[in-house]
């Protein structure tokens, strides 16, 4: 019985170490690379896609924060941006829909990759579903004509 317990404990600790060994270098790499001009160019390239999803430039910062860092950070920034830039209820909901589907993609996906999941399927399907459904809703829910 004790042998079984220690065997399980060993397995548990091994999994903990394995996850740590993957997560730490990744977060470090993300912090080091995130300011590269390359990412700004990707941001610009993605502009048409954003417009296709009914989102303005103002929504880019909360959207990307949420995609990479998670919903709690994303939401904090949505609340601030919504107030400062006067985001419409429609746009806030569209960002919410996207982030509900697809957030913290690096961390969430990687912990499943560590235990044997397929990176491209998990990441690709989530991104695709988020983009398609947000774009679909943007078409169904037409913006109200801007007042003034």
């Amino acid at each position: 019985m004790t042998a079984l317990f220690f065997e399980s404990l060993w397995g548990a600790c091994l999994l903990g170490v394995k996850l740590t060994a993957i997560v730490v270098p990744l977060v470090v790499a993300f912090e080091l690379l995130r300011y590269l001009p390359f990412f700004r160019r990707v941001g610009e390239g993605i502009d048409p896609l954003m417009r296709g999803m009914g989102l303005s430039r103002n929504a880019a910062v909360p959207l990307f924060t949420g995609i990479f860092l998670g919903i709690a950070y994303g939401a904090g920034i949505i609340i601030r941006v919504a107030r400062e830039k006067n985001l419409s209820r429609r746009e806030v909901f569209l960002v919410g829909l996207f982030l509900a589907t697809c957030h913290a993609v690096i961390e969430d996906t990687l912990i499943f990759v560590v235990i044997g999941g397929d990176l491209w399927i998990m990441l690709g399907v989530r991104l695709l579903v988020a983009v398609v459904l947000t774009a679909l809703l943007a078409r169904l829910w037409r913006p109200e004509p801007a007042a003034g």
């Binding site: 740590t20 589907t101 912990i111 989530r126």
Partner: protein, 150 residues
């Protein structure tokens, strides 16, 4: 959008290390005890009996009944808890991918539903949507898998 100053490399390294260790600590806190419990329960008939109850439902997604516990943990708690339960079940790589996709779509529903609601979007509606889309994607994936793997 105002550009904030770009921190220098040592600051970024430090931020990265701190962030990474924080995430890992959070992970280990959930993973170690839950893995231990599930791995020990594997030696008793408890998991198998309760898993059998969920087998018909989980079977729709190409998963064993025991995976239901991981889904409960993912919905109510978080993905770390779910992983801790999944690993001792020794799933195939495809099944891990299936769980990763479905749980990636729908997890930590209580807390994140509240967070989504706080932005002014409809939190409850978005949470319901997450569960439904996870189910829909799971069914589609299982269907494709049956089609191509047999």
């Amino acid at each position: 959008m105002t550009e904030s100053a770009i921190p220098d490399i040592p600051t970024r390294l430090r931020d990265g290390l701190r962030g990474g260790l924080q995430t890992s600590l959070k992970l280990v806190k959930w993973v170690v005890p839950l893995y231990l419990v599930v791995d020990l329960l594997k030696h008793t008939p408890v998991l198998e009996r309760m898993g059998a109850l969920f087998a018909p439902l989980m079977g729709l997604f190409g998963l064993p009944g025991e995976a239901a516990f991981a889904f409960v943990a993912a919905f109510l708690l978080n993905l770390y808890a779910a992983i801790a339960i999944l690993v001792p079940l020794e799933l195939t790589p495809w099944q891990v991918t299936q769980c990763g996709l479905m749980m990636g779509l729908a997890h930590n529903l209580v807390v994140e539903g509240g967070v989504l609601g706080s932005t002014g979007a409809r939190g409850g509606l978005l949470t319901l949507y997450r569960v439904l889309i996870a189910g829909a994607c799971g069914l589609a994936m299982a269907g494709l898998h049956r089609l191509f793997a047999s």
